[in-house]
């Protein structure tokens, strides 16, 4: 900052007294609410253009289809706010789902046992990533590239590459059951989202997640145990990815060792569309939920309108670029 502007600021007093030009205000508004506005516009368009879009059945279906990517995206949001990334989530989906499917028939009535085993797999992979990042000083991108490969290999090896199918009734319920009119995956996703929103937005830990992402050195100097914060976010990321894997397995009534391949990129796209910065320090759970649901209604709408599925990835890409451009205008 030049001396000149510094002095002008002094004359003007505290920064909040600065007059903002109208164009800045418009930019800020578009930057802050652009994705939400975009979401509403698409929603209204589809409600008019696609006859079956605005039915309770279809909307519930959209959320159900989005819930797996959504669950994974919750943990990814924590990680990306610390300026990290987790490429292993797709492999965790595959491995956790596989462990769940292998144990589910054997355990009979006690379906929470394979559930816990599946979640433990997520914790284990998250722990491995975090250990490499925090203790080994390895960049998150590389550390989780390694755990991505390791977890995928583990999923292939334990079944010798075979598909496992046929879960017991209660395990299947997680994927296709209902509580009242609402599918169980939707309930799991919404509860997890509310819990994450609370932890990130209201607790001391959440505040430290933002601090680590904003300035890790400063966070250390004020006495925050940055290693513990980083460990925790990768454990959260592992658990939410594993939860996604369990829901996927339960819904398909079986697990393939290659399940979840490529999910990491869809998840990262959804989180970025929701306003989280790859550079860390910025992002919210509610933003991520909107990002996930936006991609969900767009895919759903294209199906309803009979657009060839070849176009889906391209459209996702365009939305991603749009979101990144909008995020530049976000207010500080």
């Amino acid at each position: 900052m030049s001396l000149m502007t510094e002095n002008i600021k002094t004359l003007l007093g505290p920064a909040e007294l600065k007059e903002e030009s109208l164009s800045t205000k418009v930019k800020r508004f578009v930057g802050d609410y652009g994705i939400l506005i975009f979401f509403v516009v698409i929603f209204v368009f589809l409600a008019v253009a696609a006859p079956n879009f605005l039915t309770l059945n279809n909307l519930v279906n959209v959320v159900r289809q989005s819930s797996i990517i959504g669950l994974i995206a919750l943990g990814m949001t924590f990680i990306m706010i610390t300026a990290g990334i987790d490429l292993s989530v797709g492999s965790v989906v595959g491995l956790a789902g596989m462990v769940f499917a292998m144990l589910a028939p054997a355990s009979g009535g006690a379906f929470w046992l394979p559930l816990i085993a599946g979640l433990a797999v997520g914790l284990l992979v998250g722990f491995l990533s975090a250990a490499m990042i925090v203790w080994g000083g390895i960049l998150p991108f590389l550390a989780t590239l390694a755990t991505m490969a390791i977890a995928r290999t583990a999923a292939l090896v334990i079944t010798d590459g075979q598909v496992v199918s046929g879960l017991s009734g209660p395990a299947e319920w997680i994927g296709s059951g209902f509580i009242g009119p609402i599918p169980v995956p939707v309930i799991i996703f919404l509860l997890a989202a509310m819990l994450c929103e609370f932890v990130l937005g209201r607790t001391k830990f959440g505040s430290h997640v933002y601090a680590v992402g904003g300035n890790e050195e400063s966070a250390k100097k004020v006495g925050i145990s940055t290693g513990r914060v980083l460990f925790t976010v990768y454990l959260i990321g592992g658990v939410t990815a594993a939860l996604g894997g369990l829901v996927l397995t339960a819904r398909l009534d079986g697990a393939a060792p290659v399940a979840g391949t490529g999910y990491e990129l869809q998840v990262i796209a959804a989180v970025v569309i929701g306003g989280t910065s790859l550079f860390g320090g910025v992002g919210t759970i509610r933003g991520t939920v909107i990002g996930v649901l936006l991609l969900g209604i767009v895919m759903n709408g294209m199906n309803l309108l009979g657009v060839s599925s070849y176009y889906q990835q391209g459209v996702q890409g365009i939305i991603l670029v749009l979101a990144v451009l909008l995020n530049r205008w976000k207010s500080d």
């Binding site: 510094e6 505290p14 920064a15 601090a211």
Partner: protein, 295 residues
């Protein structure tokens, strides 16, 4: 030493501190003491040992030998938080703020006040309390800043105020400022002088670590000059000239000092004070002694 032995117990006294890193002796028997409410400057070039000494005082390093006393009682600072619990706060050169967070969050970063919502097991950050306290400490500094403003939108001086406010919010008795003007523009240095005066009025002692003479002369009551891990001189401001201190910093002794009248190297006096001119004017008359060995 020219400063008279204090009549009351010093707030903090570091006694005969030694610290070695491998083959390097960073501190070789350093003693300083700071009185309650006093502004004390620690002068010296890079690698003189100023920062190491302050890291001993803030509990980041443990001394190999020597002791720390507070209020005349021997104490130990095994961790940074132990030192902070006793009211010793550090204001870092880079201010140690997180740009992406607002003012109130930065002030309480790492020490957030919490309130129970479902018994003691479910606790959330008490933002109302943070906001009220933030307003209170910034008012005490007479630098009002909106507590909800993100730090990235603040000027250098405002950032420093937030960093100092962080110390005030936790009832600091001693605030250590590391190179406080390094990240400020010239215009802000006068504000720093004002702020240290205000801290003095609040009865808070300040140690300023600096290699700028004019800064030390402008704000300090007393100062110590460090060189190569030892204290080579202790003075009350007014007892020596800037030129003499500059000589001491670079040579470690005043025995061979000759008043050439050419004054001080430009880089040491550039930053802004006006009061040092009066100091320079009034002082050549004063005799000075140094204790070259440090302690």
């Amino acid at each position: 030493m020219t400063d008279a032995p204090p009549t009351t117990a010093p707030l903090v006294a570091l006694k005969d501190i030694h610290k070695t890193f491998g083959a390097v002796s960073a501190l070789r028997g350093v003693s300083i003491d700071v009185q309650p409410g006093e502004t004390f400057a620690l002068l010296g070039d890079n690698a003189a040992g100023k920062s190491t000494l302050m890291k001993v005082l803030t509990g980041v390093y443990q001394p190999d030998r020597g002791s720390i006393e507070m209020d005349g009682k021997r104490t130990e600072f095994p961790t940074p938080s132990a030192s902070r619990d006793k009211g010793v706060e550090m204001v870092y050169q880079d201010f140690a703020l997180a740009d992406n967070l607002d003012v109130r969050t930065n002030i309480f970063l790492g020490r957030e006040p919490q309130k129970n919502i479902l018994g003691p097991f479910l606790r959330i950050i008490d933002r109302k309390k943070m906001e009220a306290e933030t307003k209170r400490v910034l008012e005490r500094l007479d630098i009002p800043i909106n507590p909800r403003l993100k730090v990235k939108r603040l000027s250098g001086g405002q950032r420093q105020a937030v960093a100092i406010g962080r110390a005030l919010a936790f009832d600091a008795r001693l605030i250590i400022m590391d190179e406080p003007t390094a990240n400020l523009s010239v215009a802000k240095v006068d504000k720093l002088i004002e702020v240290t005066q205000r801290l003095k009025d609040l009865g808070i002692a300040v140690i300023i670590i600096t290699h700028r003479l004019d800064e030390a002369f402008a704000v300090a009551d007393r100062f110590a000059v460090m060189r190569q891990g030892q204290v080579v001189g202790r003075f009350r401001v007014g007892d020596v000239t800037e030129a003499q201190v500059a000589h001491l910093i670079s040579h470690g002794t005043l025995d061979d000092y000759v008043d050439t009248g050419s004054g001080i190297p430009e880089d040491r006096r550039k930053i802004g004070s006006t009061s040092s001119i009066a100091v320079v004017g009034s002082m050549a008359a004063h005799g000075i002694t140094t204790n070259g060995s440090g302690s």
